[in-house]
Symmetry: C2
Subunit: 341 residues, 2 copies
């Protein structure tokens, strides 16, 4: 019935149901006036022939395409994928589809994608990236549709979402303290990252003044180097490491093992990002702070939808709480459940 060359239009439907096009439309949308029997007949025929309205035609008239764009410069997709999943999940049952545009760091490419999306009359654009304190290489401040920023820096007066990294760090430290650790060291990424400063700030605040923070890069190598540096200097050694991401944690655990130091018995480890593919494969599996990027995506999706519908949305930065995903790198005494705020 379907299939063969082009879909059924409302004109076909109207003919089959023996009504006019306008009546057919009104029947389907539960608007207008007509006999109940007529309305049901149209609906029944529609169901039978599998009629689905052409969204292009609807969009032309309604000025709503039920389409949004997700712009990202995060090539690996490590941050973008969860965000995308959240956006999609929030919007799919409202009939909204998502254009994904990976623009690397190329402004020209970005412009091409943005233009293509605007031509297609997207109802809004969500900008996302790989770093919360950097802008995308393209200026979205005067595109003619609403824009929401997620995990990337937005312009002034923009609506943006990011995780509450200070909260994440606090969760980690409190967990370590609660499991009896006294001397916690924070091994993290480059200090010019906003999230590094957020996390280390909270770390210092919660641990007290003296606590050590080591800044480096986002790599396993740095995790190993940091451990080497700590354990080859004199003085008391830490009984816990809070690492700035899961890769650093991985490097640290490897280096500890090589030194014959046991995790979690001698040293407990907490990571950041909860990058499943790393955290869960480690031995022992890594307890890690999850930024809940999917939820962030969900909220960004709902917000862009609200904006598209003309609802007012307060500009500003919204931060979302983190979660601690407990695995075995902090000891087995700990409950295995997740901890939420």
């Amino acid at each position: 019935m379907r299939g063969k060359g082009g879909r059924q239009t409302i004109r076909d439907l109207a003919a089959m149901a023996g009504v006019s096009i306008s009546t057919a439309s009104k029947a389907l949308n539960d608007t207008g006036r007509m006999g109940e029997e007529t309305r049901q007949r149209v609906k029944r025929v529609a169901r039978e022939i599998g009629f689905r309205p052409n969204a292009l035609a609807q969009g032309l008239l309604s000025k709503r395409s039920f389409t949004i764009g997700l712009l990202t410069n995060d090539t690996y997709g490590r941050f973008t994928l969860p965000v995308m999943a959240g956006v999609s999940e929030a919007l799919v049952d409202r009939g909204v589809s998502v254009f994904l545009c990976a623009i690397e760091d190329d402004p020209a490419l970005g412009q091409v994608h943005v233009d293509a999306m605007l031509d297609k009359q997207v109802d809004g654009i969500i900008a996302t990236g790989k770093r919360v304190d950097r802008r995308l290489p393209i200026d979205l401040s005067d595109v003619p549709v609403p824009v929401v920023y997620a995990f990337t820096e937005g312009g002034p007066d923009s609506v943006s979402f990011r995780s509450d990294d200070a909260h994440g760090a606090t969760l980690a430290v409190e967990w370590l303290k609660a499991s009896g650790r006294q001397r916690i060291v924070h091994v993290t990424g480059p200090e010019d990252f906003f999230s590094v400063r957020e996390r280390s700030g909270a770390f210092r605040a919660v641990t007290g003044n003296g606590a050590t923070v080591l800044f480096g890069e986002w790599s396993e190598t740095w995790g190993r180097d940091a451990v080497d540096r700590i354990w080859s200097s004199p003085g008391e050694k830490p009984d816990a490491l809070f690492c700035g991401n899961d890769q650093i944690a991985r490097g640290a655990v490897d280096a500890l093992r090589e030194r014959g130091i046991r995790v979690p018995e001698d040293v407990a480890i907490v990571g950041f990002d909860n990058w499943e593919i790393v955290a869960a494969q480690m031995r022992p599996p890594l307890t890690s702070v999850d930024m809940d990027l999917k939820e962030l995506g969900r909220q960004a999706g709902l917000t862009i939808l609200a904006l598209a519908e003309g609802q007012p949305v307060e500009p500003g930065v919204r931060t979302l709480p983190c979660r601690l995903v407990v695995r075995q790198s902090c000891g087995v005494g700990s409950p295995k459940t997740e901890k939420r705020r």
Copy 2:
């Protein structure tokens, strides 16, 4: 000029250029007949006001939306992301945008996404997955638009693309042999994977009959276990391991190091997938077979476009050659370049 409420339509453009709508349209599309001066004037005004035609209106008329859908059940995006990048790269400068739909393994969700895309009149759908010998949880055999399968099993008479895993395995083995290795063992994933059989088949063919193949799972743990098993059994030890993926390779390297066996001096390692984030962070960095999924995506994109334009495309499975990405896990004597077929 732009921005304020709604974009300029061709009607505005025509008025500003002092011509009729039809003349404006023909001027922009270099069709129809008119004075050269008129044509240029229209184009100039269009440029000045930044006119861009509404793709919804164009699509309504032309039956082409310049939009395609990418359907995937690969949640991590490990395979989907490179494919997506290739698709997008191939299509963006032809004005085609891509809907990304992650459907997990949920048929109902898949149907919702497919329906939404069809409503939006996508010109075609590319189906992609996480495993070459499994179907998506939804039947695409009678959607009314062209479908191309990439890195997932397509129906009979479908057009599909996958990497030539036998070729990849051959590349790996020949590289190891060329660098003087004699006793190569293949440590790979579960035998019920088509790609495992492809690779191990080629491995056996190239190494000669006696060569050992160990089937297991796709994890670091299995890589470690395999090394333990090999080195704790009696007999001559291998001087090279060809691993079924990069995670297995990683586990193997870790286990070897713990045994004091040097990589690459004592044992050379080649991985599969060239998953940058794993392969490049390892120490030593891992030489790995790259399935060139981006190229696969590019070709899928071009193919779906051809189909959308009504060009005939031969059904069947197309396999694409792999590349060997040489890093340091096979010795430094080897050239540092990539090897292609």
